[in-house]
Symmetry: D2
Subunit: 285 residues, 4 copies
C-alpha cells in the first residue's frame, strides 16, 4: 500500500516563518477566566502566583525566551531577535508556549488551590505572536502592558472597594467611577475607606516580570539597546561559546519579580535581556 | 498617565485569518514524546487511551470541531468549512486546541498512569493549521494519516517483535527489515513468532477517530460530499435552527472508535461529518 | 571579494504561495483614472477598447489564464485552480499580469487615442490576488463584478443624461437620483430623453469577457462545475497530452465579447473555462 | 437587482500589510530579457539608460521612495521604514511600482532604441517586496546587489572579450573561465586583449543609483543610521512640516549616478536617504 497517493496533501501547509532580526512576543490569554473560577476580587494572589509559577516553568523549559511579563490572566514572552528556534515558525512558537504554559498551570493548580479541585471545562489559553523590529518597539510593548496593568488595577481596586467596603452594587460602582481620573480614584479610596493605593502589593500594581537572574550591572556602562539594534544577522558563535552560554543560562536562577519595566533602569542594569549574552551568575546564597 | 503613548504597538499585530470556505485541519504533535515517558513498545495502550480521552474532551468543549483522528502522539481536528470560530484566525484556532488538549492530557495523566507521576519537563504539544478546499482534499488528508498509521504500526510491530521475541538488538532489527515490503513483514512475524498481524487490536492498526455519534444512515441516500463542495458561503441559519442544532450537538455522545476512514462507507453512513447538520440522536442504551 | 557576507539578506524574503486547488483571481485597477484622461462620459468606447486590447494580449501571453472580465478601468483574470505557474507565488502572479497589461495599454494607447499623446504621469495599474475554493465562489465573484457593472452603468448613464441632455449640474443630478431604484432610472431616461437603456451597447451594460474560443457545446451534456470541484490535486498529464493542449490553446482565437456571465448558459456552453481542457478549435471563417 | 447576494466574495481577500517600522524593498526583474532583445554584449548602454530613465520616473512619481538601485534588467526601490503608503499593503506597493516602471519603459523605448520597434510579447517585469528591520540590514541588501553587479560584470566582460576579441565559442569561454578568481579575470583581459577592467565605464562596474539630490553634508556630522534605528513609530508631523517636506522633495532633482553604495561615505554625505528629511536643495546651475 503506497502512501504516495495521498501525500500530495502535505503541499497545502503554508509557511509562517516570522521576519528575521525582529523581537518575537508571544502573548497568551486565559480563555474566559473572568468570573469562571471564583477568583477573589479585585486580585486573587493564589491565581497570580499560579500564573507566575507556570511562566517560570515556561522560561526554564525554553531558554530562548529572554523575558516574560504577566498581568491578570495574560502573559507575554519575548524571544530575542536573533532567535532561530523552530525556524521562527509562528505556529510552532505560539503553540509550544501555550501548551507548556497550560501543562504547568493545570499541573500546579492543586498546589495553589488545594481546596478547589479543577472542574471541566479545564482552564485553557490562546496565544499569538507579534514581531517588533527595534528595541524601542519592544520596550514600548512591555510598557504598554505595564501601563495597562496599572490602569486596570487602579480601577478594579477602587471599584471593588466601593462594593466590598462601601456596599455599592456593581452598577452603582460603575456609575460612580465613570469619568474619574487616576487622582480621583486615589482620593475616593483614601477619603472613603482610608486605603492608600500606594500601599497595595507591588504584584498587583506592577504585574510580574520573569527572567534569568545574573549580577546587576552599573547603569551607563553599556549601551545594549543600541548594540542590539545594530545587530543585523543571526550571531554565529563557536560551539564552545554556545556551550558556555548554554551552561551559564542553565545555572542562572529564573526569578519572578514586580519591578518597573518602563524606566531605563530596569534594562540598563540587566544588559543580558537585550544582548542575549548571559551575565555573571551570582553566588548562590 | 495616558496609555496612548505606547498603544501604537498594537498595530504590529498581523492578521492570520484562514481562507473562507475551506476545511481547517489543526494537527497537534507531542513534543519529544518518543522515548521520553518509557511508554511500552511498540504501542502503549494507556498512552493511546489518554490521547483519546483528551481528544474527546477537546471535541466536547469545541462543538465547531466535526471530527478528530489520532495516531501515536499526534491528533488532527477538523473544523467544517463554514466554521467562523474566532473569525478563522489561525493562531487562535491552533492555540485554543493545543491548550485545551494539553490541559486534559495533564489533568487525566494520573488516571491512565496512576503509578507514574508526571515529572518535568511536562508533556506538551505543538500545532499548526492547514486549509483544504474540497471534500476530496480533506478525505485525502485523513486517509494520508491513516495510511501512515498502518505503515508505521506494521513496521514497529515487526521491529519490536524481532527485539522482544527474537532477541535482536535495535540495529540488527533495523538491518533485518531494510527493504522489506508489507507482505514480508507479515510473513516474518508469522513464521518467526506465529503472530498474525490481523489479530492486532484495531486501535493500533487503524488509529482512533473521534466524532459526535448520531444514528447511521443508509449509504447512497445522500450525496453529502457533493453538497458540501457546492456550499459557497457561510450558512445563514435562523436563531431557532441554530439553537436546535446546538442542542442536538450537546445531546450527542462524543465517541472514540477505530474504523476505516479511507473507504467511502464511513463517510456515507455519517453524513453529518461533512454536512455539519446534526443527525438524529440515537436512543441511549 | 566574496558575496557571502551580504547574502544573508536573502533569508528575509517571505513566501507567498497561494493555497493549492483554489481558483486565483488577479484583479487590476487603473490608478486614478477617473477624470484623469478626459475620457468621454459616461463611457468612452475608445478607452474600453484599449482595455480590452490589453486584456486580450495578457490572455494571449499567459495561457494559464482561462478567462478575464473587464469593466471601466478594472480587469479580473482567472487562473484555473490546478495552475502551478510561478509556484502560485502571489507577488509573481500579480506583478506579471499588472506589468504585461500596462505594457500593452501604453504601447497601444496611440492606436486608440491617436489625437491624445500620453503625458506624465503615465497610466498605471495596481493589482491583488484572491483565492476562491469552489466553482460557485468563482462564479459568484464574476457575477459580483458584472452586477457591479450593471448598477454603475445604469447610474452613470442616467446621471450623465441629466447633465448632458437635461442641463443639470453634477450636484443637481446627484440629488435628483438619490434613492432611486433601477426602474426609476429607466423611467427617468425614457420619459425625459426618450432613451431606452436596453438599447445601450452591450459593452457598456455587460462589460467585456475575454477567453479562448472553441466550438460551443450543448448545455446539459457536461457537468463541468462538479467535475472541477471534484478535482483534488494538480492534474498529471503525459508530455504528449500537455503538448497537444498547448498547441490547441495556441491555435484558439482569444476573443472579447459582451455576454451574460451570471447565468449558467455561458459556462455550460464553454466547458473548457472550468475544465481547463481545450475544446475543439472552430474552423476559421 | 440587489448586489448583496454576490458580495460575500469580498471577504475572501486576505490582508498583506507589511510589518510597520521596517524598510520595504521592492525589487523588479525583467521577464526573460536575456537574449530577448538582441541587446549588445556584455552591456548595452541604451538598455541601461532606458532602465534608468524608467527608474527616475518611478522615483519622481512616487515620492515615498527614498532610493533605487539598478543593475542589468533589475531594479530595487526602497520605501522608508516610516512609510505608510497604501497602508503598506504588499500587493499595492509591488504592483504600483511594477506598473509604473513598465509604463515608462515601454513609453520611452523608442527614445533609446529608435531603430528597433517593440515587438510582442512586449517587455514586462515581475516584482516582490521584502522587509528589512534595521539600517544595517537595508545597507547589506544594497551592498549585496552592488557586489552582485561587480561579480557578474567582471565575469561577463571577460567572457565576451574571449568571444568577441579572442574568437572563442561560448562553450570554450565558459570552460576557460571555470574556477578563475577576480584577479585571474583581470589578468586574462589585460594580457590577452590589453583591456584594463578599471577603465570600464562606472555604470557597468557599479550599477546605477537613483535618488533625490540635495546638498551633500560633511561626513561625521550626523549619525543618521542610529537615529533611524531609534525611530520606533510613524513620525507625526504638523501639516505645515509635511507640506514643507513635500515641496522640498518636489523641488529636488531626481538624479541617476554610479557610485559606491557599499562604503559609509555615500550614506554619510546623504543623510536624507535614511532620515527621510529632505535636505537643502542645491542652487540650480
Amino acid at each position: 500500500m503506497a502512501n504516495s497517493r495521498f501525500e500530495y496533501v502535505k503541499a497545502f501547509e503554508q509557511t509562517d516563518n516570522l521576519l528575521p532580526n525582529t523581537w518575537v512576543v508571544v502573548r497568551i490569554d486565559g480563555r474566559g477566566f473572568t468570573n469562571k473560577y471564583n477568583f477573589e476580587k479585585p486580585n486573587d494572589r493564589r491565581a497570580l502566583d499560579l500564573m507566575n509559577a507556570a511562566a517560570k516553568a515556561v522560561v526554564t523549559d525554553l531558554p530562548d525566551i529572554t523575558i516574560g511579563y504577566g498581568v491578570s490572566d495574560e502573559y507575554s514572552f519575548v524571544f530575542h531577535k536573533t532567535c532561530t528556534l523552530f525556524e521562527r515558525r509562528a505556529s510552532k512558537l505560539v503553540s509550544t508556549i501555550v501548551s507548556t504554559f497550560t501543562a504547568y498551570y493545570v499541573h500546579l493548580w492543586s498546589t495553589y488551590f488545594p481546596q478547589t479541585p479543577l472542574s471541566t471545562p479545564l482552564p485553557s489559553f490562546d496565544g499569538r505572536a507579534v514581531c517588533y523590529p527595534s528595541v524601542q518597539n519592544l520596550r514600548d510593548y512591555m510598557s504598554w502592558r505595564q501601563v495597562d496593568c496599572h490602569i486596570n488595577n487602579l480601577y478594579n481596586t477602587t471599584f471593588w472597594s466601593l462594593i466590598q467596603l462601601g456596599g455599592m452594587s456593581a452598577t452603582e460602582a460603575e456609575k460612580f467611577l465613570a469619568g474619574t481620573l487616576s487622582a480621583d480614584k486615589n482620593e475616593i479610596m483614601f477619603s472613603k475607606f482610608h486605603l492608600n493605593y500606594n500601599n497595595e502589593p507591588e504584584i498587583f500594581k506592577k504585574g510580574s516580570v520573569v527572567f534569568r537572574d545574573y549580577e546587576l550591572v552599573e547603569p551607563g556602562t553599556h549601551n545594549v539597546a543600541e548594540a542590539a539594534d545594530d545587530l543585523a544577522e543571526p550571531v554565529k558563535q563557536s560551539k564552545t561559546q554556545e556551550e558556555g552560554d548554554r551552561k551559564r543560562r542553565a545555572k542562572a536562577r529564573v526569578m519572578v519579580d514586580h519591578l518597573d519595566i518602563i524606566k531605563d533602569d530596569f534594562w540598563d542594569r540587566r544588559p543580558w535581556l537585550l544582548s542575549n549574552k548571559p551575565g555573571k551568575v551570582p553566588k548562590q546564597t
